[in-house]
């Protein structure tokens, strides 16, 4: 049972802290001969599989490395365009590694702001009076928990769906935030959090939560 990541979003919807605790890497490396039976396409500065799912390589997986060398966006490490490289039979047999693309910092920023808006829409479309925004979002592989403080800061935790004790963890993260970020005289409000003690204590709290422990009154 794991906690995947933690995001902290400020009042305006901007991401001020992000920590990836556990990122499962589902990667598949295979050797291919010409012609390639997977259909690849450009998407968001990456090359992804658009058709031809097989053997663990799913639609949406990105090209991570060619012949053992990590790719850089849409081109190989030498600067050649990947799709052009793969159209040339001279380059075969080629070994390509596919997997879920890692989120870049920009993408994380955009997703955090997107969630900030979705949180508000969840409250607006409520059929009941006095509803908060989205506090928990469930999918089949993860559960997203969100705690919004009275000052508008959102603490977002992505965890395994069966993980318990996330509500206590969110309150604990709020405590750590107020102790190690807010009380830090060099930290400016609503700005990205760059406080070592905050990082350390957050990691400690995640370990305790994963072991399904309870946070002691004074810890």
């Amino acid at each position: 049972m794991v906690i995947f990541s933690v995001y902290v979003v400020n009042k305006a919807g901007g991401l001020i802290y992000q920590y990836d605790n556990y990122v499962p890497r589902t990667e598949v490396e295979k050797t291919f001969s010409y012609p390639l039976d997977l259909v690849l396409k450009h998407h968001d500065e990456k090359v992804i599989v658009s058709f031809g799912q097989r053997d663990g390589i799913k639609v949406g997986h990105a090209v991570l490395s060619i012949n053992g060398v990590d790719v850089v966006g849409k081109s190989t490490a030498e600067g050649k365009d990947i799709l052009e490289y793969l159209k040339d039979p001279v380059n075969y047999p080629v070994s390509i590694r596919f997997g879920r693309a890692r989120l870049s910092s920009n993408e994380k920023l955009m997703l955090a702001s997107m969630f900030h808006s979705l949180f508000a829409i969840g409250s607006q479309l409520s059929p009941e009076v006095g509803s908060s925004g989205i506090e928990m979002l469930e999918t089949d592989v993860f559960k997203l928990h969100c705690f919004q403080t009275l000052t508008g800061i959102k603490f977002i935790v992505l965890a395994d769906p069966r993980q318990a004790g996330i509500d206590a963890l969110l309150k604990k993260i709020y405590e750590i935030y107020s102790d190690f970020a807010l009380k830090n005289p060099f930290y400016s409000l609503e700005m990205p959090i760059r406080c070592e003690l905050f990082d350390q204590n957050l990691k400690g709290a995640l370990e305790v939560a994963e072991k399904a422990g309870n946070f002691g009154a004074g810890s």
Partner: protein
């Protein structure tokens, strides 16, 4: 224990059907705008979830909850989206939504040659059967919790 409302969207975002049972607060915007906002929110949540997911997903987004209600979502492979808002006591309405799709929508609407699948649903039969189905659910009570 109660069901608040139900939306049915086609794959282009048109709201084919909407009904409410125990809704206490309107959204403050016209029904048309509300449908667009609801569809837009669901579309964004799906895209958000597919990017954020640490592993490959099979069913995708299932539900979300706030302090007062829970929204259950079911999407068919043909792009039809069923949305049910209930109170917090209902933890999983996926089977309910699947039942509404296969036993009510497919039987009464898809198999009906006079029901056009792109416009708002006109079927009285669908509407009344859905209403009695929802009222018969174990988690439905006319007096809202």
């Amino acid at each position: 224990m109660t069901v608040h409302n139900f939306y049915l969207f086609d794959r282009n975002g048109n709201c084919l059907f909407y009904n409410e049972w125990n809704r206490k607060k309107q959204a403050g915007i016209s029904k048309e705008e509300e449908f667009k906002l609801m569809y837009g929110m669901l579309f964004s949540i799906r895209s958000f979830v597919s990017k954020m997911a640490p592993l490959d997903m099979k069913d995708g987004f299932l539900s979300f909850q706030t302090s007062k209600y829970r929204l259950h979502y079911y999407e068919t492979p043909s792009g039809l989206k069923l949305v049910l808002n209930t109170d917090l006591s209902v933890s999983n309405a996926r089977e309910t939504l699947q039942h509404i799709y296969s036993n009510l929508y497919v039987e009464l609407v898809v198999k009906n040659p006079s029901c056009s699948s792109t416009q708002t649903l006109d079927s009285e039969l669908f509407s009344s059967r859905l209403d009695s189905f929802i009222r018969s659910l174990p988690f439905y009570s006319p007096r809202a919790a």
